[in-house]
Subunit: 243 residues, 2 copies
DNA sequence: CTACAAATGCTCATAATATGAGCAGTTCTA
DNA sequence: TAGAACTGCTCATATTATGAGCATTTGTAG
């Protein structure tokens, strides 16, 4: 608030000109904001030089290409990732397991956060098949009917003996998952891995899920309710953090 | 360049933080730019307040939602529109006709500029069917095979007795148009309207075309070569203006 | 739970910096 | 061709940004 008057003016001008979209002349906007014409032109020249504004004709300016370049770097997940990370780290340490945050993108699961035991091949930003992971099945369970039809049109390649590859069986599994409120992966992706996942509903337009995974002896369907409860608590705290 | 130091710094910081995407701490970026920490934090606070940056966690910032909002207002056509407008106005006045600039968007033609005689129902930003206008046929003639197949899958509704509604005939017409280098609309959209259009190739990723239209007595196929020549000259000047 | 480290928020004197008026040159329009 | 609007420049003034330093909060690690 205090200080940075010229920066404040420059940003206000950037917004005003961009939102106007070249309808009014720059001078009109400048004086409309109560600025001296000379000051306004200086700031506009600066914004043009930086590519944030673009001169479209005599006295007309509009948002520039650099604005799009910068906006393309804005990750809609960034805030959620950093809100979830510390909670997932704590949970992973307490349970001596690995905690994930994932989202369904392009028919696959993207892992946005991985915290805890650093075993396995998964890394952040990795994409994995959805049908054989806890997070994947949890997210598939909340797909619309048409989206799910499209997804199940492709063959489900088995990764272990227990991978569900039959579309009918998968639909039943997803129905059960939705009814239960959490997903269970019992050695469907790897023989030495079990997993439980719970949803993080409709944050910022997408559906996310968090999971906890580890050795199948502990991450066994029998222990799933207890693990799911802890995940649900973490999910609640994450949602709370985002306000 | 001269003046506006704090604005310059704020914009540089906005770019640096956004491009970094929350990987480095804000402090690192600030000192990396040679700024005093206090100054950097002031500017970051300002950018956050304006929504251009968003705090993702302790010391971590990334591009904010307002950046996307502003970028969504950036019209990729804006520069071309204003570059073309004065030339089309001059041409329209000299020929006592109406000049248009159009682009193919969403299977239809969007009229970006209309200059000259203000008759008819067309307005800027209006979308019209492509198959019965000069600009539309010129743009269709440069579509890829698959895109044209998709376009011609929908029925061509006749607007006058002369509208081309047969897909086979339309393909022949488009081949002729491409070979000829300009499109002719001989009362295909309205009984009292003729039109000639020439392309403005691949400016900023899209294909645009400009046209001149008026009464069918003057805008008759016989006069098309002469009118097309004038349009081509205008098209050349427009391209030149964009550098 | 405790302690540590880093980020945040604040004040304040200094002088560096933005300001805006005014003029000259340019570019577009009528 | 004439006129108007945009553009680019200089310069003295004082408004305004600056950055150091300290107090507070917040998150992390042991």
């Amino acid at each position: 608030m205090s200080g940075a008057q010229s920066a404040t003016r420059a940003l206000a001008l950037l917004e005003a000109v961009t939102l106007d979209g070249g309808r009014s002349s720059a001078n009109e906007i400048v004086v409309g904001m109560g600025l001296a014409p000379a000051t306004g032109r200086r700031l506009i020249a600066l914004l043009v030089e930086r590519g944030l504004l673009m001169r479209i004709s005599r006295g007309r300016y509009a948002g520039g290409d650099r604005l799009r370049q910068l906006a393309s770097r804005v990750s809609p997940h960034a805030r959620l990732i950093e809100a979830a990370r510390p909670l997932l780290r704590r949970l992973a340490q307490a349970e001596r397991a690995t905690a994930y945050l994932g989202v369904f993108e392009g028919e696959m699961v993207t892992y946005l956060v991985k915290e805890g035991v650093q075993a396995g091949f998964t890394r952040e930003q990795n994409q994995l098949e959805a049908y054989c992971t806890g997070i994947g099945k949890m997210l598939l369970a909340h797909l619309t009917e048409t989206r799910l039809d499209a997804y199940l049109a492709a063959p489900l390649v088995p990764l272990t003996e227990r991978t569900i590859t039959d579309p009918v069986a998968m639909r039943a599994e997803l129905d059960a998952t939705r009814a239960r409120g959490y997903a269970i992966d019992n050695r469907e992706m790897a023989d030495d891995l079990g997993c439980v996942a719970v949803p993080l509903h409709k944050l910022r337009g997408s559906d996310y899920a968090v999971s906890l995974s580890g050795p199948p002896t502990r991450f066994h369907p029998e222990n799933a309710p207890e693990i799911a409860a802890k995940l649900q608590q973490a999910a609640r705290q994450i949602s709370q953090r985002l306000g």
